[in-house]
């Protein structure tokens, strides 16, 4: 091997070994939901600026991934757009020997986005029309049910092309949770899940997959996260809530959806707020949760996580609006601050 090659290799090796500040920092790892990723990454980066000795590394590998990794213990906390069901909670307890705690962090919404040539107005969807479209029982844009909800709009006599998520996701979970609540046919035929057997439609990968497909396909409809629609300026429609009002998703309406749940929040914070009561509530909204074990041996990590949670419930909540996430209701924050005490060593 030539001399210069040797030097080069040594230099690269030295460089890779050396590259790494943060000696002495507490490194905390978290994994899970993609839905709140922008908010979480902002929070963790900001927190690091305030506390340079704490590095919280969060990767969005999916809610299911988050649940699995926290159960295996390869990460210090998880994150999920759908709460863990009883089977999963039991599995965690069996594997790790302690309990898992759910901490709601923010709320977000899922909106119906569409591409109907010639229609400039916002389309209003009733629960029945949304369920019908995604079940495949309503096939044309000018179906009587859709027209009834949109009296002033001329809808074309075209086939509806349905787009859904192909990858398992919390967004799908929220969407199907809502449809299951408003349509018995959906509940029986399809059900709720991060991945379901879609009766009709094409699958796009990720929010950008679905929005890309919708953008390029005339007469199509899909569903995406609210912040995604806002950031990429997608047109999206209004959905009729349980009180009968047609609501367009935004911070206010998503916050209103949680208001009803705040007072009846269960101790473990596992609650669904789709189709929430209230005049101003947006019906397709949800909490997203951090999953934290109630026993963390490493005291530095434990302290870091506890401190972060407290910060998140205080200053962190003030940062949510800028990114189009809805902050938690006050009652929920109070309850969570109490629940943090459960985290022991």
């Amino acid at each position: 091997m030539t001399r210069s090659k040797q030097v080069l290799i040594l230099a690269v090796l030295a460089g890779t070994m050396a590259a790494g500040a943060g000696a002495g920092a507490t490194a905390v790892t978290g994994a899970g939901a993609t839905f709140p990723y922008p908010m979480y990454s902002k929070w963790f980066d900001t927190y690091h600026k305030i506390h340079p000795d704490i590095e919280i590394n969060y990767q969005s590998i999916g809610s299911g991934g988050g649940i699995r990794q926290i159960t295996e213990g390869t990460v210090d906390f998880g994150a999920s757009d759908g709460p863990m069901n009883d089977t999963l909670i039991k599995a965690f307890k069996d594997k790790r020997g302690c309990n898992i705690l759910h901490f709601p962090t923010v709320m977000g919404g899922v909106v119906p986005t569409y591409n109907v040539p010639g229609v400039r107005e916002e389309i209003e969807f009733t629960p029945q029309t949304l369920a019908g479209i995604f079940l495949g029982t309503i096939t044309m844009w000018n179906d009587p049910a859709i027209r009834k909800a949109n009296p002033g709009t001329t809808l074309p006599a075209s086939d509806i092309v349905v787009m859904h998520r192909s990858d398992g996701s919390g967004t799908t979970y929220i969407w199907t949770d809502y449809l299951s609540k408003v349509s018995k046919q959906w509940k029986d035929k399809v059900g709720v899940g991060t991945s379901v057997k879609w009766p009709v439609g094409l699958g796009g990968k990720g929010n950008e997959g679905v929005s890309g497909l919708v953008r390029q396909t005339p007469n199509s409809i899909g569903y995406v996260e609210l912040i995604y629609a806002v950031q990429t300026k997608l047109p999206y429609g209004c959905v009729q809530n349980a009180a009968g009002k047609f609501i367009k998703a935004d911070l206010k309406s998503v916050t209103a959806a949680a208001a009803g749940a705040a007072t009846t929040m269960p101790d473990d914070f596992r609650v669904s707020i789709t189709n929430a009561p209230g005049d101003d509530a947006y019906p397709i909204a949800s909490f997203t949760w951090l999953l934290v074990p109630d026993q963390i041996e490493d005291s530095a990590k434990r302290q870091a996580i506890v401190d972060f949670l407290k910060w998140m419930l205080g200053d962190g909540q003030k940062m949510t609006g800028a990114l189009e996430y809805a902050p938690l209701p006050k009652e929920v924050v109070e309850k969570e601050l109490q629940a943090i005490e459960k985290i022991r060593g």
Binding site: A19, A23, Q231, T232, L323
Partner: protein, 278 residues
């Protein structure tokens, strides 16, 4: 006379068709590279190479940790994949036999067909679960396994191209078997072998799925090889599926930088090979 003209015509026509193939492939190539440059190359700046990722909503920041991370992972992958692939290829080409080599080739092709995410899951089960944390070791292991098939098959094929006359001459001069292989046959096939290796590294450099559960990812620096490590493909993946225009730009820029890194590695390796000859 007619027959000759016809044969010449056939020759011209067939070569014209290969020319068309080339135009299609090269055309697609330039188009893709150009598009990548236009979408991403424009946004590559000094910050990209030196800063950590910036929080959402703040412009600037870079992917310095991902660049180093990818370099680390590729280094590990190469140290694992290349020797095994190379030596395995030498075995198949130089030490003959029928059944065992047949099986090895077959199995190698099968290994090559395993989806990258499944290799990632395998590395996760074998490395990450055992130590209960993500690390560059696990990522390098996954990528290394992916490198073996191409390294092995291309080494074998190019060694076989070397005429037996060279081998016999070396042995006749008194070389031991291994000397003959390493000092005569391999150098004769070196250009092809290196080409295969370059292709191998290139392919593995862009893989995302095997890294999701092994090296995981990191917003910060990671010392050594035992921590979760950022990498360009994972950053690209995260940013590309996000809602922010700024993220999309960075994703394309990262794609461009990745390509540039592979390019430079490629150039360096080929230059080194051609210098040997002089």
């Amino acid at each position: 006379m007619f027959r000759l003209m016809r044969r010449r015509m056939t020759s011209a026509v067939m070569f014209a068709m290969t020319g068309i193939c080339t135009v299609v492939v090269i055309g697609a190539l330039f188009f893709i590279l150009g598009y990548l440059f236009w979408k991403g190359g424009r946004y590559v700046n000094w910050d990209f190479f030196t800063k950590l990722p910036a929080p959402v909503g703040e412009a600037g920041g870079g992917m310095a940790n991902a660049i180093i991370g990818s370099a680390k992972l590729l280094l590990l992958a190469t140290l694992i994949g290349m020797p095994i692939g190379f030596l395995g290829g030498v075995y198949l080409a130089e030490y003959g036999g029928k059944t065992f080599p047949f099986m090895v080739r077959y199995v190698t092709d099968l290994l090559n067909g395993v989806p990258s995410i499944v290799i990632g899951i395998f590395a996760y089960t074998v490395v990450v679960l055992k130590v209960r944390h993500f690390s560059a070791w696990a990522g390098g292991f996954a990528l290394g396994i992916m490198m073996i098939p191409i390294a092995l098959r291309s080494t074998e094929e190019f060694l076989r191209q070397v005429p037996n006359g060279l081998r016999e001459a070396a042995l006749a001069l008194g070389a031991a078997r291994w000397q003959m292989i390493l000092t005569v046959v391999v150098p004769a096939a070196l250009r092809g072998i290196v080409a295969g290796m370059m292709l191998d590294v290139a392919r593995v450099a862009g893989e995302t799925a095997p890294l999701l559960f092994t090296s995981f990812g990191n917003r910060f620096w990671s010392e050594g090889f035992d921590k979760p490590t950022a990498s360009l493909p994972v950053m690209i993946f995260n940013y590309a599926i996000g809602p922010y225009e700024d993220w999309h730009r960075q994703a394309w820029a990262a794609g461009f930088v990745l390509l540039a890194m592979v390019f430079m590695f490629n150039v360096t390796a080929r230059l080194l090979v051609s210098w040997r000859r002089h």
